[in-house]
């Protein structure tokens, strides 16, 4: 009898335990799901806040906002073209510099670098990504811009004076600050993003493929060009897009060195502005019914551009992950 009671007790106890487990499990799962959904809610919140804030400007200026250059706070006539142009051009020039350099660094790290130096060098390059953008800003303003003004820019102007097309790109007085300086700073900032993603995907190339090419008598460069790069193409492009997403939205470094002029100049040496620099510079002091909404509308446009670029980058990197990019 006593044994049976004990058994009953144990069964009750166990049933209690299972119920408690079940309740705890449900609670934990709910909390985790809620936190995960919060991420989506924040994302949607950003979209909603930008649309809501920009609405007066969208209503007032309509679609022509996208191709109007005039930005006049006094008469409250706003057009975003100069800022959009500056954003796209500075990022494009930055990618022209940073993509080949980033791939070069990845080639160096995977094919040439002695093993002992691999880790320290890749950590050092990645530290460039850790330096806050405001630091790039003051360094650009006080060190890089004066240096470019006195040495590099006069040289560029002189060298390309008689070359068609380039003479327009490098024209006019060397201000130091301007689109070119901003692009150069951007290229330094995004370099580590490109080089680290590229190095990671380079390392996924099966050694067998490379050895087969070496066996046919390929040089190291031919192996990189004909085997490694084609194999990792979508990863490299994905990494570059990720870096482009960063470059498009970079704010503090640009604000210091771009010159903040709402106009479009053919010359890269001229001052300009970007979307993020305009917002950072003017938002806190913006008065009037349309000034703030116009700035928020610029923000909305930046959001759409970066969303498209980043989404493309995600899709490419994810496809790579699925299609056996893993070792």
């Amino acid at each position: 009898m006593a044994g049976l009671a004990l058994e009953n007790y144990a069964i009750d106890e166990r049933a209690n335990m299972v119920r408690r487990f079940g309740r705890g499990e449900a609670r934990f799962r709910f909390l985790a799901l809620a936190a995960a959904l919060l991420v989506v809610a924040i994302f949607l919140g950003v979209v909603a806040a930008l649309i809501d804030g920009a609405w007066p400007a969208i209503k007032a200026f309509g679609l022509p906002f996208l191709w109007t250059e005039k930005w006049n706070p006094v008469t409250e006539k706003f057009g975003g073209l100069a800022a959009i142009y500056g954003t796209l051009v500075t990022s494009f020039v930055a990618m022209l510099i940073a993509v080949p350099m980033g791939i070069g660094i990845a080639v160096f790290l995977t094919e040439l670098c002695p093993n002992a130096l691999k880790r320290p060098i890749s950590i050092a390059i990645e530290l460039l990504a850790g330096i806050p953008s405001i630091i790039y800003g003051i360094w650009g303003l006080f060190v890089l811009a004066p240096f470019l003004q006195t040495s590099v820019q006069p040289w560029l102007i002189e060298t390309f004076a008689d070359v068609p097309f380039f003479s327009i790109l490098f024209e006019g007085p060397p201000y130091g600050i301007g689109m070119f300086t901003a692009s150069l700073i951007l290229s330094i900032m995004v370099l580590p993003f490109i080089s680290s993603v590229t190095r990671d995907v380079f390392e996924t190339v099966p050694p067998m493929l490379k050895e087969a090419a070496y066996g046919l008598g390929c040089t190291t460069w031919e192996v990189v060009w004909n085997v490694v790069l084609p194999y990792t193409r979508s990863g490299v492009v994905g990494g570059a897009m990720l870096a482009l997403g960063r470059a498009l939205g970079e704010t503090m470094a640009i604000t210091f060195v771009i010159g903040n002029a709402h106009r479009i100049s053919a010359s890269l040496l001229a001052p300009g502005t970007t979307i993020s620099a305009s917002i950072a510079n003017e938002f806190a002091e913006a008065l009037g019914d349309l000034y703030v909404p116009a700035l928020v509308e610029l923000g909305l446009i930046l959001f759409l551009i970066t969303f498209l670029v980043l989404a493309a980058a995600q899709l490419m990197l994810r496809r790579l992950e699925k299609s056996g990019g893993k070792r």
Partner: protein
């Protein structure tokens, strides 16, 4: 056998490999130049008053104590709120979501949020909190930083939990434990170093953020620990002072820049040392 062709191929290889090496050297030179400038310009401004005085008008010896404290308050609030949310969300993705469509969607939005320009996060919090409160505040600044912390922690937690060997979970399941208990007492512990890495990276990321604070926390010249009022922060002091025309303010900006960079770089190096090796 074609010696000319061979010579050309070898030449091409040599040129491009030298260019690659050159790219790595240029990258290292950039880092060296930036760090050298910071140390040479900032060291002169490192004085005790930097840490004991608040920001003062130009001409009188001031410090950045209010900005350091403001940064610490806002960053710790952001980490205290953002870390639990981020870890729970990352846990959902790794332990419950797996490869389901919902989890993939959440991952996608999280990755986008991770790279969204931080100035847009500032605009979001401005519309959400500053406009509703009617004024700038440290609270709004902390909220903006929280929004930056969450995706970083979600991403690393998710990745690190997926690295935990499945056999550990199966052992727990065989004992009859529900996933919540296995997560808390097995998986989290196994992934602890990785999760801590994520939090450190998040701290490093927000301690240098300036753009989202410009029109949320706004900055404050005076000593203040009231989070309902505008609050100073170190990056913003650098921004304002570097843009000013006063030599002694430039000096303070460089010294603050040295402080921030030193803090951020040590954090990211510690995080990297803690990070479990991928293979």
């Amino acid at each position: 056998m074609n010696p000319v062709l061979y010579a050309r191929r070898r030449m091409t290889a040599r040129i491009f490999l030298s260019l690659s090496t050159g790219a790595a050297i240029v990258g290292l030179i950039w880092l060296g130049l930036i760090l050298f400038t910071l140390v040479s310009q900032g060291l002169g401004g490192l004085s005790p008053t930097l840490f004991t005085e608040s920001t003062k008008p130009p001409g009188s010896a001031g410090g950045v104590l209010n900005a350091i404290v403001g940064s610490l308050i806002m960053s710790s609030m952001a980490v205290l709120v953002g870390t639990p949310i981020g870890i729970m969300a990352g846990t959902y993705l790794a332990e419950y979501g797996g490869q389901s469509r919902l989890a993939s969607t959440i991952r996608f939005f999280n990755d986008i949020l991770l790279s969204t320009p931080s100035i847009l996060i500032g605009l979001f919090i401005y519309e959400l909190i500053v406009l509703n409160m009617g004024h700038f505040s440290g609270l709004a600044g902390a909220a903006a930083l929280t929004v930056i912390v969450i995706p970083v922690v979600v991403r690393t937690t998710d990745n690190m939990l997926l690295l935990v060997p499945h056999a550990l979970r199966e052992a727990g399941i065989a004992l009859g434990a529900p996933i919540s208990i296995i997560t808390r007492s097995v998986t989290w512990r196994a992934a602890r170093a990785g999760i801590v890495t994520g939090v450190l990276l998040a701290v490093a990321r927000i301690s240098g953020e300036t753009a989202p604070l410009l029109f949320t926390a706004f900055g404050n010249q005076f000593w203040s620990t009231n989070v309902a009022a505008p609050m100073a922060s170190l990056p913003q002091v650098i921004y304002n002072y570097a843009n000013s025309a006063y030599e002694d303010w430039h000096q303070l900006a460089w010294a603050s820049a040295l402080l921030i960079t030193f803090a951020v770089l040590s954090l990211s190096i510690i995080a990297r040392l803690l990070e479990p090796k991928r293979n």
